[in-house]
Symmetry: C2
Subunit: 240 residues, 2 copies
């Protein structure tokens, strides 16, 4: 069975967390809206609910045989046990789910640095507010989240601080890699300075990047570059 | 076994979604920070990670025997199958998880109407931005979310449009009740007018309120009233 991923074809966005999981385990999948001649129109049936399952509120959506699954953390929690992306332990599965939801909260806040008033408005219509929110994010929220995960990593004796949950890499580590790449892209100055305070997370990110399948994926045209339509956007005026 | 719920003692907040699930099934639990003479200090050990599990980023946290579980949607997904709060079907369990995460997104956006710049600042320090964000929320986001759930409800043939997932009420319905109560409290004028467009969700909410255990809970001192320290706050200047 080939998975079908339904996501916007021009941004890494939330779909990238799913792509990284599928790529890391070499699971066969079609990135439906990126198939030549299909494009974004290919998303409409799934977003309209006509492929079955509960109609999604938004992409990403994963079709796995008869199942049609939306919400990033839900997709990853589904894939985890099927592909060895999470330990076979109820407690550690719950830990992974918990961390993925905290990452989702961080991702939403990173998005809102350029959309503090609303995703229904353009960035250009909320620039002063974006500046204020970015400052609060960079000063308080980003360090709170990443400082927390740095401690979680240090406390994980099972992996000797190499991975966030259990002994081996999980989808949570792959997602953390993407968050770190995104923050580095969006805020090269501020994140560059801050990153010295989270050496274990930075090493984790390097470890993910060096995984053969992830490295091959990153070098392939399948990996979409960060850009100013996505979650992590580089607006120099927001990076002090 | 008695569950232990760790949450702020003075607001409904995200803890309320867990309380409603526990109350609806009559599960024994201690709301630890509300035990006389304990208070908020009772949260520190669990937030410090000393009760086991992955250290939580924030409350609510549920202790279930040896398990220590954080993130609201994760707690509900754990409780669901154990207490008949979700159907015994992989597809419907995934649907419930998906909807709960969409509700979590809506709740975060409702929170940000009074904290668009950052949760590290007071409302008083972000009033003009709150007015703009509330307008965008009430004009675009709230109708988008609730219009979506109204359609999900109408499309659920299994319950004839009575409940969101499967035949019977799930934790998703209990959470939707809380969202509707919260929006009614925060934005009585705007939500009052808008609510006429979502008759099925309003009927669902009435149906939840009429459940004997929920009605008894709502009439008890265990139910914490909405207030201006929580997620759903009534600031008349934000309600047009």
């Amino acid at each position: 069975m080939k998975y079908e991923l339904y996501y916007w074809p021009s941004i890494p966005g939330r779909g990238e967390f799913v792509r990284l999981a599928l790529e890391d385990v070499g699971a066969p999948y079609v990135d439906v809206a990126r198939v030549p001649k299909r494009g974004v129109d290919a998303l409409f049936p799934v977003l309209g609910g006509s492929l079955g399952g509960a109609r999604p509120f938004a992409p990403p959506v994963l079709r796995a045989g008869k199942l049609v699954i939306a919400q990033t953390a839900n997709i990853l929690a589904y894939l985890g046990p099927k592909h060895g992306l999470v330990p076979r332990s109820e407690a550690l599965d719950l830990e992974a789910r918990q961390h993925q939801l905290t990452i989702a909260d961080l991702v939403a806040e990173a998005h809102d640095t350029h959309h503090p008033i609303g995703s229904s408005l353009y960035y250009e219509d909320q620039k002063p507010e974006s500046k204020r929110r970015s400052t609060a994010f960079l000063d308080a929220r980003m360090p709170k989240y990443l400082g927390y995960f740095e401690e979680v990593l240090a406390a994980n004796k099972k992996s000797r601080g190499k991975w966030l949950v259990g002994r081996d890499r999980t989808y949570v580590d792959l997602s953390m890699f993407q968050v770190i790449e995104g923050l580095r892209y969006a805020f090269p100055k501020r994140f560059g300075r801050y990153s010295k305070k989270i050496p274990k997370l930075m090493a984790l990110s390097d470890r993910v990047a060096a995984r053969p399948r992830i490295a091959a994926y990153a070098a392939s045209p399948r990996r979409i570059a960060f850009n100013e339509d996505g979650i992590f956007r580089h607006y120099p005026e927001l990076d002090r």
